[in-house]
Amino acid sequence: MSGSAKAALVAEGLRKTYGSETALDGFDLVVPEGTVCALLGPNGAGKTTAVRILSTLLKPDGGRALVAGHDVTREAAEVRRNIGVTGQYPAVEEILTGRENLEMWGRLYHVGRREAQRRTEELLEQFDLTEAADKRLKHYSGGMRRRLDLAAGFFTVPKVLFLDEPTTGLDPRNRNEVWKMVRSMVEQGTTVLLTTQYLEEADRLADQISVIDAGRGVVEGTPETLKSLVGGDRIVVTLAGTADLAAAAAQVARFTGTEPEVDAEARRIDAPVRDRVGDLVEIVQMLRGQGHGVVDVSLRRPTLDDVFLHATNRAGRRKEPVG
């Protein structure tokens, strides 16, 4: 396959429908070797379907995909030799201990009993499970299960690792732990494709983000490029009362030339600015001059939330601009 010698993963025009529902509608993706790519999108956007096709669990209705250089439909067995998969729910056997789980998965990778045992000890260490190794899974916390699940997916140091919402349902401390683990896997040369609903996760882990909505990629790039897509810095002004919020927003709109986003409950007006400090001073002076009570003002860089809202700009999903 020319032009993608350095790509660990290539998807071209993947399509999948379930009855009348279109889950994937011409999905494209290229992930270079040794990088982390995040598929970002709302529930039902097609993220999981994409991962299931790429990890040979599901057949696409159209398009094609190469993982580690092998076609996912025609060379599924070859693909399976090169991937690790961690689903949305930890896929581990409840009745077994952590160590037994890993040894079993290892044996099924056909590495031999002794190698399975050796690697198991290594993984228990790496994923910080040595102490709990001989406890049965029912005594594991959610974070421990997740780590064991990751360890199982990482048994053979796969070329490509799929993580479907790896931190959904975890508390911040465990989420940080998982992020740390994922980074250590990437350091060992694994390419990671992860799906997430958390912008922070994509921002923290990914070299490349693909925002997916209604079954197709809507925008793609590094976290930085994506942020620059939605424009530069923004000013956030909080007023004392709600009565004059609309009037103040109209003032700001006239000044910046674009409709600001207004959060009535928080009494906040959020608008793009070109000259950070200059615009801030002028807007505040203007508002106070008109008799609006300004209680707080701040500048912020755009977040992936902004990217997400712009990219998936569908009816009802966007914060309504005041009109």
Binding site: L58, V85, P90, E93, G153
Partner: protein, 265 residues
Amino acid sequence: MMAVLGRARWAVTDGWVVGRANMINWRRNPGLIFYCMMFPIMTVVFGYVFGSAMSVAGGGDYREFLMPGLFGQAMMFGVVTSMLAVTSAVSRGVTDRFRSMPMAQSGVALGRSFADMFSSLIELTILLGCGLLVGWRWHEGPGKALAALGLLLLWRYSLIWVGIYLGLLLPPEAAGAAYVPLLPLTMLANTFVSPEKMPGWLGAIAEWNPLSSTVSACRELFGNPGVTGGSWVAEHAIELAVAWPVLLLVLFVPLSVRRYRTLSR
């Protein structure tokens, strides 16, 4: 040829690895044994309650007649055990992990069948003990008795594969409700009553129920009452007790493996 042999070897090895993990259930879940004893204990009660009230076609003791029927029925109920185990593994995502691995694609189903066979052995042993307690005996020597047990286990093994297939096909709720259609299926046979004592059309259906062949063959081999000739099915009970399970295996092993490979939810 070597490649095929190599594949078969991995299928069995992987099946063993998966099956052994499932068998650990028995050691760690002593409650399971208790659960498994419930049915045999019910059986003993059954034998006593109905023992005196029922008469057997061709004469003989009802308890002696009933036990092979209950053995066959218990083996048939195993279909639900397998279904539940499979649907639960699928819904927990464990099956997906197996499917994304470079292991033998038939290994998971094979492992399930090994583990369930192991459970069946335990269950059948308990049942035999209970049968002996209520006065059931074999009369044709240990050789034929073992042959009968072999037929029961063959019957069970074929149904494990039916259960695996249905478990891969149906959602967990449906698997849980499987007893509802299964119970009449196990009764519409020669389990409790000889088909000759049923209305003609019902008797014909009961006679052709594959369960009836296994039960008849067992009665014959154990030397228990209720073996009545006449119809072609009844005359060929032992042959059919082999043929039906083999037919089920020929159908459901490939179906299950294929279904497993193309599983997508």
